[in-house]
């Protein structure tokens, strides 16, 4: 009973199967084709818009890396090389003594160097910086806003969804083209 009955049944099933396969193929093709037409050849990477950043500190702790791939960077062209730098000295620091107790940075990541009295150059030691943004807040509130946070792409592993972006209260993270991976502050 089986042989004759099975044969056409099997072919019918195969036929349906091929039909559905064709349909699925067309579906996947249509969806990806449509997206491919719109896609860019280059990749995108995560970056912080310094105009939106509020230096809340989440960058230091929400990154999947530790220390975070977000570091403080310095727009030297914006900096006034102040002797009393609000990104370098604690708000309550009596004056401009460079003792550790007067420094704002909890990890001592800002290095200060005399250029010419009373101008000082400030540089970030990224090995020490954890991206907490404390100096960014200080410089932003009382200084020129020359210190700001950026995702450092030598460190960032470019997660599909950036964990910091999801936790950012200021919506400051966005994807930028990989060939222009930084949103630097410039002289206005």
């Amino acid at each position: 009973m089986s042989e004759q009955k099975e044969q056409p049944d099997l072919t019918r099933r195969d036929f349906i199967r091929s039909g559905v396969r064709g349909a699925l193929l067309a579906g996947v093709g249509a969806a990806t084709g449509g997206l491919l037409a719109r896609s860019r050849s280059g990749d995108t990477v995560w970056q912080i818009d310094p105009e939106k950043c509020i230096a809340c500190g989440n960058c230091a702790t929400y990154c999947v890396l530790k220390p975070s791939a977000v570091k403080c960077v310095h727009a030297f062209g914006l900096c006034e090389y102040c002797e009393k730098c609000f990104g370098y000295f604690d708000l309550d620091a009596p004056d401009v003594e460079t003792g550790a107790e007067n420094q704002l940075c909890p990890t001592g990541a800002i290095k200060r160097r005399l250029v010419r009295e009373p101008q000082y150059e400030y540089k970030i030691d990224e090995q020490l910086c954890i991206g907490c943004g404390k100096c960014v807040a200080g410089c932003g509130q009382f200084g020129m806003g020359a210190l700001f946070l950026q995702v450092r792409h030598d460190l960032c592993i470019n997660c599909n969804e950036c964990a910091i972006a999801a936790a950012c209260p200021a919506d400051a993270f966005r994807r930028v083209p990989a060939d222009k991976p930084y949103l630097l502050k410039k002289k206005q």
């Binding site: 500190g57 989440n58 230091a60 702790t61 708000l91 807040a137 509130q141 009382f142 936790a167 950012c168």
Partner: protein, 339 residues
């Protein structure tokens, strides 16, 4: 699935492991905080806290705020008081005027974005564009356009006396002294060791000028956290001010950013003027006497949005302090509490 009769130890262990691991996984998932709800979790030493300076001792605040005047501008830059205590505000590409009750009375369209303005007793308006000054009649007709001060110029303030016009050029850290016809008479505030002038120091363009009693020029020197007075020939007279986050000092890297001279009726019989000063960073408006001693707080940081920069202020004949708030885009009106 077939079950063995006897309970095997391995089976039990595996069952326990699987149960515990599953439970732990569920706990971990529930503990996830991907949305930043829990905050950064950083310790105190990682957090910048200037809150303590954003609260003002209420006993120091001798002013109360009245209803503000909405300017309707997108960018509000400068404020001045004209005849009959009319309030003039420069911003966008126009000057808007309000009567003493805040009713709009005039609007003058400008070709360039104005940075500041000053109004004569007869209603003539001097407005500073970025690099030049324009003069308008009371009716809004342009009377004169003075030549450009230079490419580096950033004009941030204008003050008038009977026959002089003082123009603060923050780009070149100097106050330009003109006559009413627009002829440059003198440059005030430049470094001069012999006369003991350290020079104006600015980081953000914010030099403000004011004339006291038709005789003395007051200039802010924000980079040195002080105000300086000069005679009209450029000779330095007095200066006061020091850097401090405390209410007595000028905060941040450069302050004050604006000044006005309090009319005489407010003061005891003193030979020198009291000044109203405005700061950024910790936005606050204060009144200090001729020695720089704090006499009153008009408005503390709590009265302004955080990060407010670019206040301008003036005072009318009734002693009302008018503060142009660039964030609210409104003229905030403060009067003495006992009035």
């Amino acid at each position: 699935m077939k079950k063995r009769r006897g309970i095997s130890t391995t089976g039990v262990i595996i069952a326990v492991v699987i149960t515990v691991a599953t439970a732990a996984a569920v706990v971990v998932i529930l503990r996830f905080d991907p949305t930043g709800k829990g905050g950064s979790g950083l310790g105190e030493q990682f957090v910048y806290d200037s809150e303590q300076y954003r609260k003002t001792d209420p006993n120091l605040i001798h002013y109360k705020e009245l209803k503000p005047i909405e300017t309707g501008l997108k960018v509000a830059r400068g404020i001045a008081v004209g005849p009959d205590d009319a309030v003039y505000v420069a911003g966008d590409r126009k000057i808007v005027a309000f009567d003493r009750d805040g009713k709009s009375i005039a609007e003058i369209a400008l070709g360039d974005p104005p940075q500041c303005l000053a109004v004569e007793a007869d209603g003539t308006i001097y407005t500073g564009m970025i690099d030049h000054v324009e003069v308008y009649s009371k009716g809004g007709r342009r009377i004169a356009k003075w030549p450009s001060v230079g490419d580096d110029a950033i004009i941030t303030s204008i003050a008038l006396s009977d026959s002089d016009v003082f123009v603060a050029d923050s780009g070149n850290s100097v106050v330009l002294h003109y006559d009413k016809a627009g002829r440059l008479v003198n440059r005030i505030g430049q470094v001069d060791k012999e006369r003991g002038i350290p020079g104006l120091l600015v980081r953000k363009p914010c030099i403000d000028v004011a004339v006291e009693n038709g005789k003395v020029l007051w200039v802010t020197n924000p980079g040195r956290w002080r105000v300086e007075s000069y005679s009209f020939d450029g000779a330095p007279k007095r200066h006061w001010g020091r850097q401090s986050q405390e209410i007595e000092g000028f905060c941040g890297c450069c302050n004050p950013t604006c000044i006005a001279v309090l009319p005489r009726l407010r003061q005891a019989q003193s030979s020198h003027g009291w000044l109203i000063t405005g700061e950024k960073g910790l936005p606050r408006v204060k009144i200090c006497d001729e020695t720089g001693c704090l006499r009153s707080v008009v408005a503390g940081p709590e009265a302004f949005a955080k990060g407010t920069v670019g206040l301008d202020l003036t005072v009318d004949s009734r002693g009302r302090v008018l503060v142009l708030d660039p964030v609210a885009k409104a003229v905030r009106v403060f009067v003495k509490k006992d009035d």
